[in-house]
């Protein structure tokens, strides 16, 4: 079991954004977290990655408890996420964005910062190469030195994934990676995602509304509604699940 989310709840001033939700992500899986808007999916993400502390419940990573650890610690433990609203460094170039993502690979020693030796220079060179490679991997090669602010929506989503990849995650959490993408871009993204699992990344958890992508890419789907878990299972099962259909489309009149 890679990620184990146990009975988490979160209240905001009396509103239960998340209520007693549990699910797990195994090594080698792509799990999708779906549900109508306001179902609490992003809140779950925020809890797992440490941006919010849960009101109740616990989170385990590879058996160790990580509830409430701050985001930068979670990143160090290999859990990296992207965000719903485009979050990149807009004044930096594509390359620089991904380079920043490599932060954990670089040195944080003050000495070496000011008195760099050969290992330092070598390390910087490797970071540059890795960033270069990742930009190519997600298909942004032609835009390597463009300022992030001038990218198209689809390219921005790819850049977000690229930045997260720079951090060499073991568990990657993607918050609506296909939002704003057209069909072709979504297919391209799905391809990238499928290729990722099995590299350093052992599992993927994503929140997504694009159903065709979810169905084609996920091994398992967790459905949430009004803060609670509604259902869980492989795509075919969820597709036919009556309560899921009702949550999305409403009861037949």
């Amino acid at each position: 079991m890679m990620l184990d989310v146990v009975a988490i709840s979160k209240n905001f001033d009396g509103v239960a954004a998340v209520s007693d939700v549990s699910f797990a992500v195994q090594s080698g899986e792509i799990v999708a977290l779906i549900g109508p808007n306001g179902a609490g999916k992003t809140t779950c993400f925020n809890i797992v990655t440490g941006y919010i502390k849960p009101s109740a419940g616990r989170v385990f990573l590879d058996g160790t408890e990580v509830t409430g650890r701050p985001p930068h610690v979670m990143a160090r433990l290999g859990v990296v996420r992207t965000f719903q609203k485009t979050s990149i460094f807009k004044n930096l170039s594509v390359f620089e964005n991904v380079l920043v993502g490599h932060h954990l690979q670089g040195t944080t020693s003050i000495w070496r910062t000011f008195l760099p030796g050969k290992t330092e220079r070598e390390s910087e060179r490797q970071l540059g190469e890795s960033a270069h490679a990742i930009v190519e991997l997600v298909g942004l090669g032609p835009r390597m030195n463009t300022d992030a602010a001038s990218l198209s929506c689809g390219e921005l989503r790819l850049l977000e994934v690229a930045i997260a990849l720079g951090a060499k995650p073991r568990l990657l959490l993607l918050d609506e990676p296909a939002a704003g993408l057209n069909t072709q871009e979504a297919v391209q993204l799905a391809g990238v995602l499928r290729r990722l699992v099995g590299t350093n990344i052992r599992a993927l958890l994503m929140v997504e509304h694009n159903m065709s992508m979810v169905m084609s890419v996920s091994h398992r789907i967790v459905v949430m509604n009004c803060g609670k878990k509604l259902a869980e299972g492989p795509p075919e099962q969820i597709r036919a699940h009556p309560q899921v259909i009702e949550a999305y489309l409403g009861k037949a009149a």
């Binding site: 932060h103 670089g106 960033a131 951090a167």
Partner: protein
Amino acid sequence: MRLQRNLIFAAFALGVVLPLLLRDEYLMHIGVLIMFSIMLATSFNLIVGYVGEFPLGQTAFFGIGAYTAALLSLKFGAPAYVTIPAGGILGGVFGLLIGSITLRLRGPFFVIVTLCFAEVLQLIANNWIALTNGPMGLSGVPKPQWIDSQGVLGQKTSFYYIGLLMAAVTLHLAYRFVNSNVGRAAIAMRENRLVAQSVGIWPFYFGLVTFIIAAILCGFAGAFYAHYISFVGPEVFDFSVMASMIIMVLVGGKGTLIGPVIGAILVVLLEEYLRDFKELRLSIFGLVVVAIVIFLPRGLMGFVRRQKLYKPK
């Protein structure tokens, strides 16, 4: 980046040669002021331009450095090559103390609390007579032996070269910082805190590191100032020093390496030119700030392409 680095090297070369051409006390004095303004402006720029916060109490570290140097040399007879590093180190210590408290805050709170700290230090300097001699200050801070023995022109020229060296070191440190993993982390923090956290950057830590580095540089500048002027009083904590720093970084452009250099040169020259008109000069300064903020918010160097983090091969 390439452009900036070359410009700085050129300026440095010019700086080395200049005293040989202009054998003038007054000009050497200006030169010293420029050198140590470069140090102050660069240190302020580290926090404003790279971390993105506004430490209005930066003078605290300048003052600490100055008083440290003065006290060490007056009470213990320590030589300059001890007092100047000591000024920097003590600046750094205070940077750690003040930074760890204030960096938990953002925006206007950070601004005001750092200012409060500077004010408290000024009050202490004014009132702890036993240590600081209060408003009368500490006078007679000795110049290094080898400088003392020279004539006035020689003294000023020597200080100029020391200042040039210190400014060069400061710029080098800033350059190394910006092009390192640590510097990138600070920039990332400024650009997008949430994403920075998601890739493992701990905002508080990197903010603090940058703050301490800036404090150390300010401390060096303060210690140097103490030996040059030979007098240290509570005015070192004055807001006017802070205002100068702000204007230098604004005029030159924050977030670049050369911006503070240009800003320092321009502001020192402007201050000297307007020296005779004290209040008018400051009034004009105020107008200049307002004008720049409205019309040229990125400073003069904003026109130059903002520097790249890393040149991919």
